[in-house]
């Protein structure tokens, strides 16, 4: 019963949304791109999409400068 967030093993919590997960693992950046098992999740769905058990999650955050 665990998931992987950016390569780090994290406990899986039933019915937890992406938004709740990001808060739990303390990813406080307001804007991130999230992939669950390689699939991109639109930001507008962060509070609806539930994180499945055993999933591999990539959280990409960008910083300003260019």
């Amino acid at each position: 019963m665990s998931i992987e967030v950016n390569g780090r093993k994290v406990d899986w919590v039933e019915n937890e949304t992406i938004k709740q997960l990001l808060k739990r693992v303390k990813y406080t950046f307001p804007l991130v791109v999230v992939k669950i098992n390689k699939e991109v999740i639109p930001r507008k769905d962060f509070s609806n999409v539930v994180v499945p058990d055993n999933s591999k999650i990539d959280v990409i955050h960008m910083i300003s400068g260019g």
Binding site: V32, I60, H61, M62, I63, G65, G66
Partner: protein, 198 residues
């Protein structure tokens, strides 16, 4: 120089196209590198004009101040190789249509400035053009620490990345590091087009 190898890849590069979102510090320098490398078609997108404060790191010149960046860059590329096809779009990328100019190019380079726009752009390309390779960059500020830059690959997203760098709002932007990462992005685009250099 290995002429045989160069002749082989020259044709591939000539037939390739790269789209660059943002022609500022990252985008102007990446465009020039890609033009010199021989990419046949470049799609440039930016809304801004050349400002005197850009000249410390962006590939423009004093006599181009006030010109639209996309037009100034088109001219700079023409001066290197007039045969390169340059499509210049003077527009501000807006949510929902950010991917439009990049539909029919081989590789997209994210060279935008603000974190929020960078993130929105990447998300939009990944969702709307899922087969399109996109090269993005995060962490261009400061100086030194060249060897902290890494390429992180997530499917079709290639991220040039320094996890210790901080926002440009709290740090400086300087030509050596900005150009380093701009050329890192251009180099990745070439690698995506040609395949790994064995």
């Amino acid at each position: 120089m290995n002429k045989n190898k160069f002749d082989k890849i020259k044709i591939k590069l000539k037939n390739a196209s790269v789209g660059i979102a943002g022609i500022g510090g990252l985008g102007s320098n990446a465009s020039i590198a890609l033009a010199r490398a021989g990419i046949g078609r470049l799609v440039l997108v930016d809304f801004d004009k050349v400002d005197i404060n850009n000249l410390d790191r962006q590939y423009y010149f004093l006599d181009q101040i006030g010109q639209l960046k996309v037009n100034a860059m088109k001219e700079n590329i023409r001066r290197i190789d007039p045969k390169i096809k340059v499509e210049a779009y003077n527009l501000k990328l807006k949510r929902g249509s950010m991917y439009y100019p990049f539909k029919d190019i081989d590789v997209v380079i994210e060279a935008l400035d603000e974190a929020s726009i960078k993130t929105e752009f990447i998300e939009e390309i990944l969702l709307n053009l899922p087969e399109k390779p996109i090269v993005a960059a995060s962490g261009v500020t400061g100086y030194g620490h060249s060897d902290r830059i890494v390429t992180k690959r997530l499917g079709n997203l290639y991220l040039c990345y320094d996890k210790y760098a901080i926002s440009s709002k709290d740090d400086v932007l300087m030509a050596p590091r900005v150009c380093l990462i701009a050329n890192w992005e251009a180099n990745l685009a070439i690698e995506i087009i040609l395949g790994e250099d064995k």
